[in-house]
């Protein structure tokens, strides 16, 4: 069970730091720094720079993203911003605009 769930009715503006899994179904603006996994559900809006272990995007993310492990952009997901991650997957049906840095 995820440690932190930001439900669809909730808007957080500011800085979120966490060392456990974070699931976003609502709206986050500002900054999101998580040691564990971040899941941006379909319908969620994240307008923030995101740093995470793993990031899975089913909703809309605007901001630069860095993940120590991986970033998964799921079908229906939308990501606008630069991505820095060891691994990146972009599913069919996802939209993405930005640069990718995979530490080659």
């Amino acid at each position: 069970m995820a440690g932190t769930i930001i439900g669809s009715g909730i808007t957080i503006e500011g800085e979120i730091t966490s060392d456990e899994e974070v699931v976003v179904s609502g709206t986050v603006r500002g900054k999101l720094s998580v040691d564990g996994g971040v899941t941006v559900e379909s319908g969620a809006v994240v307008e923030a720079d995101v740093a995470a272990g793993t990031l899975s995007v089913g909703g809309h993310v605007t901001g630069n993203v860095s993940a120590s492990d991986r970033v998964d952009l799921l079908a229906g997901g939308r990501l606008v911003g630069d991505v820095k991650a060891a691994r990146l997957t972009i599913a069919d049906g996802a939209s993405f605009k930005g640069n990718v840095d995979m530490d080659v």
Binding site: G7, S8, G9, I10, I16, S18
Partner: protein, 251 residues
């Protein structure tokens, strides 16, 4: 419609949380929390912010005002430093509160709070001379403040705005302190004021006591020490009072 929201123990949020859903807090929040639904603040939570929601259940620590449109329940283990306002309030045995508690209406919006310290500050700088004259009118000046039902909580902090209270703290403040909220041993205080007023007074006491004390000391050092009156002020030579009054009248 809205999924249940949780802020986990390992999570820190600095900023505002808004929404119309329910929220469970287990982590650290600094900022403001405004919800249309229920808010649960668990044992592990530390909230340093003003909080408002439809219903609020507190088991953890809150440093800030709590306001609800329906009900606030402080469960055992709750530690609240701040004002609490809602139509219904429950404080269970084992909950700690330090602040003004008011049933009837949610707390008024913030701004009042902000203005108060500034006013108090200005007040501090004011010459003590103004005090005695004003003191006589003090009760009158205070009355309107407490009458306003909409703002029971912040009425008190704003009180220093009126000149009278400057000297008053020395006289009036110490007694009410022990009363409703403050921890120190209660002393029966025959003040004929309504309970609501005592409550209102209790809060500023805690927040401003140091200032008041300073003021008292200052006053004690200066010529004014003699003028302020009776009950609490330490030994004042009998003639001094009249003397000072005369001196002031001359000015």
């Amino acid at each position: 419609m809205t999924t249940p929201s949780t802020i986990g123990r390992g999570t820190t949020i600095r900023g505002s949380i808004r929404g119309d859903g329910d929220l469970e807090l287990h982590g650290y929040v600094e900022g403001t929390v405004t919800l249309g639904g229920d808010l649960q603040i668990s044992e592990t939570a530390l909230v340093k912010s003003d909080v408002s929601a439809k219903r609020v259940f507190v088991r953890g620590a809150v440093a800030g005002n709590i306001s609800a449109t329906e009900i606030i329940i402080l469960e055992p283990g709750a530690r609240v430093v701040g004002d609490v306002g809602a139509p219904q309030i429950g404080i269970r045995p084992g909950a700690l509160v330090r602040g003004n508690v008011a049933t009837g209406a949610p707390l008024p919006p913030r701004p009042v709070h902000v203005a108060a310290p500034a006013a108090a500050q200005a007040q501090r700088g004011r010459p003590a001379v103004a005090a005695p004259a004003a003191r006589t009118s003090a009760p009158a000046a205070r009355a309107p403040v407490h009458v306003t039902p909409g703002r029971p909580v912040h009425a008190a902090p704003s009180r220093p705005v009126a000149p009278p209270p400057v000297a008053r703290p020395v006289i009036a403040r110490p007694p009410p302190a022990p009363h409703p909220v403050a921890p120190p041993p209660p002393e029966p205080e025959p003040e004929p004021e309504p309970e609501a007023e005592l409550e209102a007074e209790a809060e500023p006491m805690m927040e401003e006591e140091p200032a008041a004390t300073e003021e008292a000391l200052e006053a004690g050092a200066s010529e004014d020490s003699s003028s302020p009156p009776p009950p609490v002020v330490p030994a004042v030579p009998k003639g001094a009072k009249a003397q000072v009054r005369r001196g002031r009248g001359g000015k």
